[in-house]
């Protein structure tokens, strides 16, 4: 077991991390908002943690709290990202569809250029030598903090979907104007969904900074926006399992293809093209369809033999 964790621990943590980032984008999508801001909040959360853990200004706080500093960085990153989420979300959520996506791309790019040029973020070099969380010796030990976070976020998502708020999100997603007419205030719920996503991305960032040991402007880029969007769309954007499955799978693909060496990024691109052509509902959506009985309007189709075994 420990051998297994030694070899694959880093990968497992990365898969969980990808799933969490996918979920951070899933929340705004639940309310019908395509936001690509997750890498921005992820980068912001990472910088908060990196600065709190390395900057001399926080030395006294670190000495006083010991390992308690780590949960504090999560809290600080979450709060700051919530605040940033409101500041960006309130004006940006007046926009719809592709316009919102472009505004959030602009947000991520502006944040990237600013972090490249500030002294406190270490400029182009970034911040390095970030101490390991709780004095972890091995990278796989980060499963101990990322795993519970994933469980927590999934439980939260499950409960949210069953709640009044979750139903309001869905109503806005299906038809914003109708939802508004029924007394569901779209703006408040849209901002709420956006902020939840921002907080999750920020906390993931604050855990990732010690995990990666170094933090720089490359952490939050347009490429990351797209990667995370692909997690959700390829996994399935209509179920909370979609982003998790998609994130894990798309992160694993380049690793599994390592034997193809340089070709793996090309194949990764092809996977995106083919999956968006042939799995329009995402992987989870396609599996869900297999399990469901065919709709009555269509001519009856014999159920596929493996119809029950369709879980991952």
């Amino acid at each position: 077991m420990s051998d297994f964790l030694q070899s694959y621990g880093f990968l497992i943590v990365t898969l969980i991390q990808a799933g969490l980032l996918g979920l951070s984008l899933y929340f705004p999508l639940m309310a019908g908002q395509l936001s690509l801001a997750s890498p921005g909040f992820y980068a912001l959360g990472g910088y908060v943690a990196a600065i709190m853990l390395t900057n001399p200004a926080f030395a006294g706080l670190r000495d006083a709290l010991g390992n308690g500093i780590f949960p504090l960085t999560w809290l600080a990153a979450g709060l700051l990202c919530a605040l940033a989420g409101v500041i960006v979300g309130v004006p940006a959520l007046r926009l719809r569809g592709i316009y919102l996506a472009l505004a959030t791309i602009a947000f991520v790019e502006i944040l990237r250029v600013v972090s490249l040029n500030l002294a406190i973020t270490g400029g182009a070099i970034g911040i390095f030598g970030i101490p390991q969380a709780f004095g972890f010796q091995d990278r796989w030990q980060y499963i101990l903090i990322f795993g519970p976070l994933l469980a927590l976020v999934l439980a939260f998502t499950y409960m949210l979907q069953k709640s009044r708020v979750g139903r309001a999100f869905r109503a806005i997603r299906e038809d914003e104007l109708a939802a508004d007419a029924m007394g569901v205030p779209p703006t408040q719920y849209k901002v709420l969904a956006f902020v939840i996503g921002a907080v999750i991305a920020g906390i993931v960032g604050s855990m990732s900074a010690p995990f990666l040991n170094t933090w720089n402007a490359k952490q939050g880029t347009f490429d990351a926006s797209i990667a995370i969007l692909a997690f959700v769309l390829i996994g399935g954007s209509r179920s909370m399992w979609g982003p998790v499955v998609g994130g894990a799978l798309l992160t694993a693909v380049p690793e599994l293809l390592r034997f193809l060496q340089d070709w793996r990024l090309v194949i990764n691109g092809l996977v995106l093209v083919i999956a968006s052509l042939y799995l329009p509902q995402g992987i989870v959506g396609a599996l869900g369809k297999l399990r469901k009985s065919p709709p009555p309007a269509r001519p009856p189709v014999a159920p596929a033999p493996d119809a029950k075994g369709g879980t991952l």
């Binding site: 791309i105 502006i110 797209i226 692909a230 090309v266 092809l270 995106l272």
Partner: protein
């Protein structure tokens, strides 16, 4: 600001702005027809520069797939001249257009015929961009190639004139870029505004289903749009490559993003808007004071953010219609 530096910035801004404009036109043409953003456009831009380099300069030194191809052998009347480079630029842009057509056939058309979510077209076009960029890196290498300094042959010496006690220098490359962009805009404006093809294109942009009822072959005009889009993107790639002398596999990524800012600023789907947006962003970048030049890349996105909040339909865009 002194008059001389004002004129200098103005010239620099117009040159780069006009390249932004023709690059962004490629985006906006596809958007106006299909209502989607082709994220592979930045990769097509890179390809344009590479194709031209391959045709004009000849070989990539190490591992080039296209090693040794040179349309004008040494000693022929065209070799090494501006004529040859111009021809290579046009052919390179045509090749980029052909790639764009291929992208449409392989990544967009199957999706359209399935009636898939437009978001998936976005992911699919990003997948294409990933494939192209990494194929370039694999087949040609990750090195950065510079266009030769005598790419435009004998018209090399720069224009310079004096204002007050300072000299304003306008590089020949900048003049050429500006002139080529103006010609392209005029031609495109003519084709779309005055010709039968343009009329059909506008009809398809307005409503594909109505256009097809009127006997317009929608698929064919979508292919034409993609060719034009790729041609403009590839041409912009060569022009930027000659002006700034850099082309690596990731050459087009920044331009791809800035192009988005340009078309949103001008108004998504609006052709005059893309031109206005390109010039505004080019000029805004040129006038960033030297001490803040590190923030230059953020200017386009700051403008994008502001315009989205103040006037989401862009400078010259049509009002957004809300469906009830």
């Amino acid at each position: 600001m002194e008059l001389s530096s004002f004129v200098q910035n103005l010239m620099n801004g117009l040159a780069i702005g006009s390249v932004y404009a023709i690059f962004a036109l490629g985006y906006t043409l596809v958007f106006s027809i299909l209502g989607i953003i082709n994220f592979a456009h930045g990769a097509v831009f890179t390809l344009g520069a590479y194709f031209t380099y391959t045709l004009a300069v000849g070989q990539f030194e190490n591992n080039g797939l296209l090693k040794g191809i040179n349309i004008f052998p040494d000693g022929s009347p065209f070799s090494g001249s501006a004529v040859m480079f111009g021809l290579a630029t046009i052919l390179g842009a045509c090749a980029a257009g052909a790639v764009a057509v291929l992208i449409e056939r392989l990544a967009f058309r199957p999706m359209r015929s399935r009636g898939a979510d437009p978001l998936l077209a976005l992911v699919s076009s990003l997948g294409v961009a990933l494939v192209i960029v990494n194929l370039i890196q694999l087949l040609v290498g990750a090195e950065i190639y510079n266009f030769p300094s005598d790419a435009y042959g004998e018209v090399r010496p720069a224009l310079s004139f004096q204002i007050g006690d300072k000299v304003v220098i306008i590089r020949t490359v900048q003049l050429i870029i500006f002139a080529v962009s103006l010609v392209m805009l005029a031609v495109l404006g003519y084709v779309i505004g005055r010709t039968k093809v343009g009329k059909a294109l506008r009809a398809v942009a307005e409503s594909p289903s109505t256009a097809s009822l009127l006997g317009i072959s929608v698929d064919r005009f979508i292919l034409i749009t993609f060719f034009l889009s790729g041609f403009l993107g590839g041409l912009a790639g060569t022009l930027v490559g000659t002006a700034f002398g850099v082309a690596g596999p990731y050459f087009g990524v920044v331009y791809g993003l800035k192009g988005l800012a340009v078309i949103v600023l001008g108004g998504l789907g609006s052709i005059p808007g893309a031109v206005a947006g390109g010039l505004v962003i080019g000029l805004a970048e040129a006038f960033v004071p030297a001490e803040y030049s590190a923030y230059k890349d953020a200017v386009a996105f700051a403008l994008l953010f502001v315009i989205l909040l103040v006037r989401p339909q862009g400078l010259l865009g049509r009002n957004l219609i809300q469906k009830v």
